[in-house]
Symmetry: none
Subunit: 214 residues, 4 copies
């Protein structure tokens, strides 16, 4: 009897998770295309193939959705960084290779940058959202800052500015460059970022004694 028939393909929990995933994907596309204010709950729900009510069964409000998108976005950003860090850990100076890959990926993902900016703009407008944004953002910057610090340490150099500030600057550059959609074949954001990184290396003095992290 195998304790009863398997009643349906998806359990309830699975099915709900799937609904939520589809809503999130549709929302992400909509926010990128029309901005948070311009993306309507109706459009998002319809694009996902659900009613508006389904949206509100899965998210408390439109802003709650943005928080979910924020979490997702930061997870992805963390994954990207994780890959770079892995390489850095394994191959000494060849971090450059990892950075190259990361930079290349940035090029191709305008949407990802648009979403990042949309989140940041909203954080500057909604006190409520700002709180969540800040914590997640800080963690992320710290992580990238650590990477930068280790990178300079590996080269035996002292970073020319606090690593987490350098991290912020790199992220700003990456986001901003991605926005310039009109890059008719040009605008190799990744390359450009590497150029700046090499510059920092060239101008860095020898490492001070112990401290390597910010």
């Amino acid at each position: 009897m195998d304790h009863g028939v398997k009643r349906s393909r998806l359990s309830r929990a699975e099915s709900q998770a799937a609904t939520r995933e589809r809503l999130l994907a549709a929302a992400r596309a909509a926010v990128v295309r029309q901005g948070f204010a311009g993306a309507s709950v109706r459009d998002i729900a319809e694009a996902a193939g659900f009613s508006q009510g389904a949206f509100y069964s899965n998210f408390e409000s439109k802003e709650d959705l943005l928080l979910a998108l924020l979490a997702q976005h930061m997870d992805e950003e963390a994954d990207r960084l994780g890959a770079v860090i892995d390489i850095a850990e394994r191959q000494g100076q060849d971090v450059m290779l990892g950075l190259d890959a990361w930079a290349e990926e940035l090029n191709s993902d305008v949407d990802w940058s648009m979403l990042g900016l949309e989140l940041q703009l909203h954080a500057n407008r909604s006190a409520n959202f700002a709180e969540s944004y800040r914590t997640v953002r800080a963690k992320h910057r710290q992580r990238l800052g650590d990477l930068v610090a280790r990178f300079f340490a590996a080269l035996g150099l002292a970073p020319p500015a606090p690593p987490h500030q350098l991290a912020s600057a790199f992220m700003a550059m990456a986001h901003g460059l991605a926005l310039e959609r009109d890059h008719d074949a040009e605008a190799p954001a990744g390359r450009l970022i590497l150029t700046f990184l090499k510059g920092l290396i060239a101008s860095a003095g020898p490492q001070s004694h112990q401290d390597t992290t910010a």
Copy 2:
């Protein structure tokens, strides 16, 4: 100049220009605070002390207003750059000083960055707006690119990437860093930008023969 009675202190044209100016100022504040989509024509008009009708006597549509803001914004950006260029022209290597001033100003003007991003985002969404945006933007980048080129030339160095691309990268960094409002005393965007610039200089090779502009 005195054909007829002088009806009022301000001629008709002057008075209309004043109305327009007040509307633009109110609009700018509103767009920064709430985004373009979030700023309502009613709010803008009321903040300027006029009716909604007055708005439509001065602008064809809400998007037309954004075009006016774009023009204004680019004028200001040009002015800022102009000052830097003037210094560069006069004092050879001491452009650094001008850049310093420019960078310092960036620190204090979050609103200006917010508006710049809002314009850029809208350009990525409205084909109509994008066209206007692109031309004005291209001119601006060209100008900053020229400055960068001349800067490296003055130092007898070859820029490590096409100057207008470096210009884009610097603008992206400036805008993005300004957005991080939570800079509790830290986040000296201007300084950071200079650090990167010095890096580029340090990594630059000797000047190639002729070409200096992109």
Copy 3:
């Protein structure tokens, strides 16, 4: 020339007042029929022949409309009372006749009672509305109380309870009885009220020395 042509039948102000009047009338009917919660802004606007937007050009919110209805309702209630008071003033003891007329009118106006109750219920639910309601209600009760006082005074009798309390009781009875719609020809609310009034008279003691009002 009669200073120019009369451009239109209704001046702007007149036309707006007319719009408001029509909206109020439609709202009144809707609130009576379906209750305040049940009456939708859309239905009200459509019944009045306008768009929903027109509603919001004339009222700040749905509750603001109810305040307008409250004012209107209380004006009418005051008018009814005014008529009774006039008679009372003119004809000594024959106030009874005026009361009779008033009572008779109550019979025929279920809607008026329904609206009164709807207002009272909403006052018990919205703190905001309650404030306005209370003042207008107090004034009204005072007025009816004065009438009751003068009535007993005219008969040389002492009211068996504070006049404004008696007033409240009469109003409660009038409203409540009107609600029993199923009065198949029976339920002569007015008559019944007079019966109670006569009872009070019969049980009243002789007037005390000076004071006649509450």
Copy 4:
């Protein structure tokens, strides 16, 4: 009585009845607080500690719930009256004492009056509900009318109007007065009602021969 295992403390029927009771109590509070239209099924179910589905396992529809509340409400009203009648039956003229107690209870029970009015208003709006309401209401009025009749009979007096009409008037007064929440220490609804009753007695003529009920 012991066919099979005793599965749980409460039998199925008992447990269901308990669920229903909790739903009814929550519904009653919600309807009083926000009106029938304003009370949502979700809120009611949640307040009772159940899901919305549980609601629909116990009631056919939202209106069906109101019918259940009606029945409950009328039962209570009957109980109150029953107490008065008991006293009247036992102690001849001292019904007054019972009435006094009844009147006092009215004072303290605004909720009960709010619910009563909500039911009555809904009866005036839903034909379906009206039918049920009318029968239950008629029975109730009859009962109170009988009491009034017996009361006058006990005093050897003729009621100055058909007893069931007097009953309606008293109920209207009781409900309406209870609504005036702002009774800052004043508004002794019960007392006031007794004043009116005494008035009726004072104005009543001697009993006619037989008939005592309406």
